[in-house]
């Protein structure tokens, strides 16, 4: 299968390029739709770097970031993305909201809707929670991570990073290593990368590997070294604290021994292989500082930068219909 890495659909006029009302996941997106979002993000990468006077195309719209689960980086990234485009951004932290008082998720959604948000960005600890809310509100909903299910903007920013750093996504050999079982980052990346025809290998101890993962079009490995052979991109996942000691792996030092990305281990990958991590990193556990800080190989800070650009693109594209942008109404 040949898939170009740039969107042929960029020439398709109007909203047909991206006919989705919400971005609840990568699942269901066509290759050209993913590429369209990446292409859209490119302009924001340049704009953000040039620090030119802003494009305020989202002036006057209200963006609510409803985060039912703690987050610093993603929340900040969405907030900056919205503000760069001129949106009025409001953050709702569930930790200090009525959710703690027993209000149901649906009631919260209805409340946000009644406040006439123009776009809602949601993070929630339960898989499927974002889809549930999307069905109850009138405005576009953007998934900023739901349980173990999806984190689509992470996958988009990762794809953009890979495309910019290696020139292509199709046929790239990509290794995703870590807690695949509990990782929405892994699921969204698997969906995005396989949709764009990359060759994806997933690596985890069997205790952290979901059942029938191969049905998602990836090759599972338990041996990190074997998976690394010829890899062009090595994506490390964060190991959550609560899984570290005895629950799923015996200890962090044993995990590091078997699955830690070290300079030595990285030699098995293709020369110049790209190293990625969605952050925040556990230095010395899944990745050594030597690898993480190697500017030649590590794209970790660039991922953060791409995150803002991708989120600007998503906020822009999803609000075009309601703003009546020509060709999208």
């Amino acid at each position: 299968m040949h898939i170009s890495d740039h969107s042929p659909a960029a020439q398709i006029p109007g909203g047909a390029v991206f006919p989705h009302r919400h971005l609840t996941g990568i699942e269901g997106l066509q290759p050209h739709e993913i590429l369209f979002l990446l292409d859209e993000a490119e302009q924001w990468v340049e704009a953000n770097r040039s620090r030119a006077p802003g494009d305020r195309r989202l002036d006057g719209i209200t963006q609510i970031n409803a985060f039912f689960e703690n987050s610093t980086r993603t929340l900040l990234s969405f907030e900056i993305a919205g503000k760069r485009l001129g949106a009025d951004v409001v953050n709702m932290h569930a930790a200090q909201s009525s959710v703690k008082k027993g209000e149901t998720l649906i009631d919260t959604a209805v409340t946000l809707n009644a406040m006439r948000a123009d776009v809602i960005v949601i993070r929630h600890s339960a898989s499927g929670a974002v889809k549930l809310i999307a069905g109850k509100v009138d405005c576009p909903v953007l998934n900023a991570g739901d349980g173990w299910h999806e984190h689509p903007t992470q996958a988009l920013l990762d794809a953009l990073t890979i495309r910019r750093r290696t020139g292509a996504i199709a046929h790239r050999k990509v290794v995703i290593c870590g807690d695949i079982l509990h990782s929405r980052v892994a699921r969204s990346n698997i969906l995005a990368l396989t949709t764009l025809a990359a060759e994806v290998r997933v690596v985890a101890p069997s205790t952290l590997m979901p059942a029938e993962i191969e049905r998602m079009g990836v090759t599972p490995f338990t041996d990190f070294d074997a998976a690394l052979e010829g890899a062009e991109v090595v994506m490390m996942l964060r190991l959550q604290n609560e899984r570290m000691n005895g629950g799923f792996i015996p200890s962090t030092r044993e995990y590091h021994m078997r699955y830690g990305l070290t300079s030595e281990r990285l030699k098995r990958a293709a020369p110049g292989a790209l190293v990625m991590h969605p952050g925040p990193m556990n230095r010395g556990v899944e990745i050594t500082s030597e690898v993480a800080d190697d500017l030649e190989r590590s794209a970790i800070t660039e991922q953060v930068e791409m995150g803002v650009a991708v989120r600007m693109a998503c906020l822009d594209v999803l609000t075009r219909r309601s703003l009546g942008v020509e060709g999208w109404a």
Binding site: A126, S127, G128, A129, L132, R184, P210, A211, E212, R215
Partner: protein
């Protein structure tokens, strides 16, 4: 007063399907078959429709008379998972009376105090208060020592133990069966083997104790194989299933449909096929609704936060008749699974059309088409995974103890 049901398609699990007349005197069936209608009897022309024993629904979680009547259900075995738990004679006695006058409620008492799986409940005292069996409830008893004592003691009391069979260590936190669907949805999942593992242990304990054990729901190929072999060896083991596991598989969970959040969870398509085969070959003894109405406050939630269970009472008969149409089983055997077999588990002499039996009857139209609608159900809540499905077959009239409901 004598009532004569004439022109009936008589469906009896023991004597088969025939055309004829059934006489009811007082609260009992007086005669059946080719009988002369006595002078002065009230004639009820059934017009060829089915006249069958009233359904005995083994293992429901709520007292929901409207739903049971709509479903042709005359008796229910009520699970001990109530608030408060059915583990005390006063509570058992009150539960037994809660259905009067339209419904027989046969309480199933908790096998362990508070259903906690640690200390034996007062089985004999609770049986004296009306309990017809004891159960582990929604949960599995993880401690094999406790389960062994439950089985030994229940055997002494002449009570069947009704067990939930899923190894709790494997299912802890799980809401789905491990596989592609759960993996894609990012839902906590347990391997289907959790069920067979629990059944294997319990069968060993049955072999040793000789206690009668009923697995309320068996849903996987490996589990059916174990039960089949245990029955062949003559162990006193029976098992049940709900229509959901016969008709739906795990892909019903797509889009996080919480009405499909069941316990045990929906299984793979190959397990579903194995379940149909187990109904066909007689491994399955009981078809039950698992009736568990849950309102939006428990279902309009993210999948992992939602409660398990489905409102199944009023769709049970239609799906049973559907299995007959699909030639999975015969009409008379369907009513073995719906009436006489569950009655036997509860130790009640009913569920057939034999003369002398209680006049608990249902008149049903096997072909009447209707649409399952979550919004229009008689049940306390409309949490059916079959919303919008057209089905055939419904109860027209229900008689309990010689009295039309």
């Amino acid at each position: 007063m004598t009532r004569a049901f004439v022109n009936a398609t008589l469906v009896c699990p023991n004597s088969g399907v025939s055309t004829g007349t059934l006489l009811v005197e007082g609260d009992r069936i007086a005669a059946v078959g080719d009988v002369v209608v006595p002078e002065g009897a009230e004639r009820i022309d059934v017009r060829g429709k089915l006249l069958a024993p009233g359904i005995v629904d083994l293992g429901v979680f709520a007292v929901d008379p409207a739903a049971f009547r709509a479903g042709g259900i005359v008796r229910v075995g009520l699970m001990p998972d109530q608030s408060p738990v059915l583990d005390d004679p006063g509570i058992v006695e009150r539960a037994a009376k809660a259905g009067k006058p339209d419904l027989w409620i046969h309480p199933i008492a908790a096998a362990t105090r508070g259903l906690l799986g640690t200390d034996l409940a007062e089985m004999a005292i609770n049986a004296g208060a009306g309990a017809r069996a004891v159960a582990t409830g929604r949960r599995w008893i993880g401690d094999s020592g406790v389960m062994r004592k439950v089985l030994r003691y229940a055997r002494d009391c002449g009570l069947t133990v009704i067990a939930h069979a899923e190894d709790g260590g494997l299912t802890d936190g799980a809401v789905a069966t491990a596989g592609e669907t759960a993996t894609r949805l990012g839902l906590p999942a347990a391997p289907s083997m959790a069920e067979a593992l629990a059944i294997a242990r319990d069968l060993m304990l049955v072999e040793e104790t000789g206690a009668a054990l009923h697995f309320r729901q068996v849903t996987t190929a490996a589990s059916f194989d174990l039960v089949r072999r245990a029955k062949a060896r003559g162990l006193p083991v029976t098992c049940g299933i709900t229509p959901a596991h016969l008709l739906l598989s795990e892909n019903t969970l797509n889009d996080y449909r919480t009405f499909a959040h069941l316990s045990p969870p929906l299984r793979s398509e190959s397990d579903r096929q194995a379940a149909l085969a187990a109904v066909r070959d007689g491994t399955v003894d009981v078809l039950c609704s698992g009736h568990d109405p849950r309102g939006p406050e428990q279902k309009r939630l993210p999948f992992t936060d939602s409660s398990e269970g489905m409102a199944g009472a009023e769709t049970l008969l239609a799906f049973g008749l559907g299995l007959v149409r699909d030639e999975v089983l015969s009409l008379d055997r369907l009513f073995a699974l719906l009436a006489v077999n569950p009655a036997r588990v509860l130790g009640i002499d009913t569920g057939t059309l034999a003369a002398g039996s209680p006049a608990d009857l249902v008149i049903a139209d096997a072909d009447a088409p209707w649409l399952i609608s979550a919004e229009r159900m008689a049940a306390k809540a409309g949490n059916t995974p079959f919303d919008g499905l057209p089905v055939q077959g419904k109860a027209l009239k229900v008689m309990k103890g010689g009295r039309f409901l």
